[in-house]
Point group: C2
Chain length 251, copies 2
């Protein structure tokens, strides 16, 4: 279960907005660090929509140290060290690539994941970012990349909805099954063999294809068409190489 | 230039939130239909962040008919006809596929694009949706897919930021150039020829590959690696077929 953490929120309305976005995208575990008192009927409830019934009232309060100890933490920041406002530079990822890597690594972390958002005015401090396992930054206009807390959390939860895995109001997409995509990757590896791609470069080429097709989120039909094309290419390339070899042998 | 239209907004704070998201993602043309009076110092300005300096004060007021006449319109709705709340069913797309198709079709529309958001409580009415050129729906939890107006617009503008094309605070990504991707697609078409893919099925296979790699947003390095692999496979497949033919000729 993925937790959403807000460090020292100041405006109750923003806590409500984050709770609403959580419910919109299937998340339900809200943790607050040093929040204002939140009570039924106040602004947090006013902004929470249907989350006033569950996500918001069931929030927990804990400390920053407890979050660091208990979770695999992802901190969000607008400033990435590519501008003059932050002197410390951290490696960071976008929400889209974060979704990709967290899904790919599912089960690799011993701790549950926590998405950590900072204060409205100053965000997360450098020493807080330094304690996170990963840093994520939402790509926005260089002229004004600072999103409001509620808006930043909304985009992050939208991009990471795959972690909550709630059925959506849209008809389900016919995503390729793991078996279908693994079959496709195996076939690509066979094609690399057939075209004599250097052995030491094959893991890298295989990773490239996995990354590209992972980003594209193949449908079942797409995976099967591509696999068919790769299979035919593999067969012809193998035939061609076999014949070259037999010609060489006869020389 | 892409316009953002809000139909009959009720809460000024939401207008400010939308203006802020516009500035965060590089949009600046805000149009309001029958809005409350918006004046410096009120809640709209309070929520607008730096957009209080430009996007918000320079908004225009116009009518629904004027929007329909002047723009290629995209209406946003949470209810897509897959539930019982909306009796009329419209074909709809997700923000991600909308971004893909609007970029692919850039220049095809005679009118500029308008992204149209509805009222806080009831959204866009069925007769309004019926007059839109396209309908877009943000995938959210089936249990509670109704986003707050400001949050819906924030996600839409985030996904469609490619239309505004503002430089982001992130280092630029080394996207493949059009020349590089077209070269890759040409090579794939040559591979289809080499593996004897039926002539009548080739346009469909080519479209599939364009769609998949378009979604994946290839980097220059990825496009060039994939092209190299396809080229080698094409050469070997052609050699193989040529030899088969010469064997056949000798029979």
């Amino acid at each position: 279960m993925t937790a959403v953490v807000i460090v020292e929120p100041q405006a109750k309305g923003n806590v409500g907005t984050v709770a609403r976005a959580m419910k919109n995208f299937g998340f339900d575990d809200l943790k607050l660090i040093d929040p204002p008192a939140i009570e039924p009927g106040d602004e947090a409830y006013g902004f929470a929509g249907h989350a006033r019934e569950d996500v918001l009232p069931s929030h927990d309060v804990l400390t920053f140290d407890e979050v660091i100890e208990r979770y695999h933490t992802v901190g969000f920041t607008a400033h990435t060290g590519n501008d003059e406002r932050r002197h410390v530079r951290y490696p960071f990822c976008s929400p889209a690539s974060l979704a990709e890597s967290l899904v790919a690594d599912a089960g690799r972390f011993e701790a549950p994941i926590a998405l950590v958002f900072g204060r409205e005015d100053t965000g997360l401090a450098n020493d807080e970012l330094a304690r996170m396992d990963e840093i994520c930054s939402i790509p926005a206009s260089a002229e004004y990349p600072v999103l409001n807390l509620g808006q930043a959390a909304t985009i992050a939860l939208y991009e990471l909805r795959v972690l909550a895995d709630a059925p959506t109001q849209h008809a389900p997409r016919a995503d390729a099954t793991v078996t279908a995509t693994e079959g496709l990757y195996d076939q690509f590896d066979a094609l690399l063999g057939a075209i004599d791609h250097p052995e030491e470069k094959r893991p890298k080429a295989n990773r490239l294809l996995r990354r590209v097709f992972g980003r594209a989120r193949l449908t079942g039909r797409e995976a099967s068409s591509l696999r068919g094309g790769f299979r035919r290419a593999t067969e012809l390339a193998e035939t061609s190489r076999r014949r070259s070899r037999s010609v060489d042998d006869r020389r």
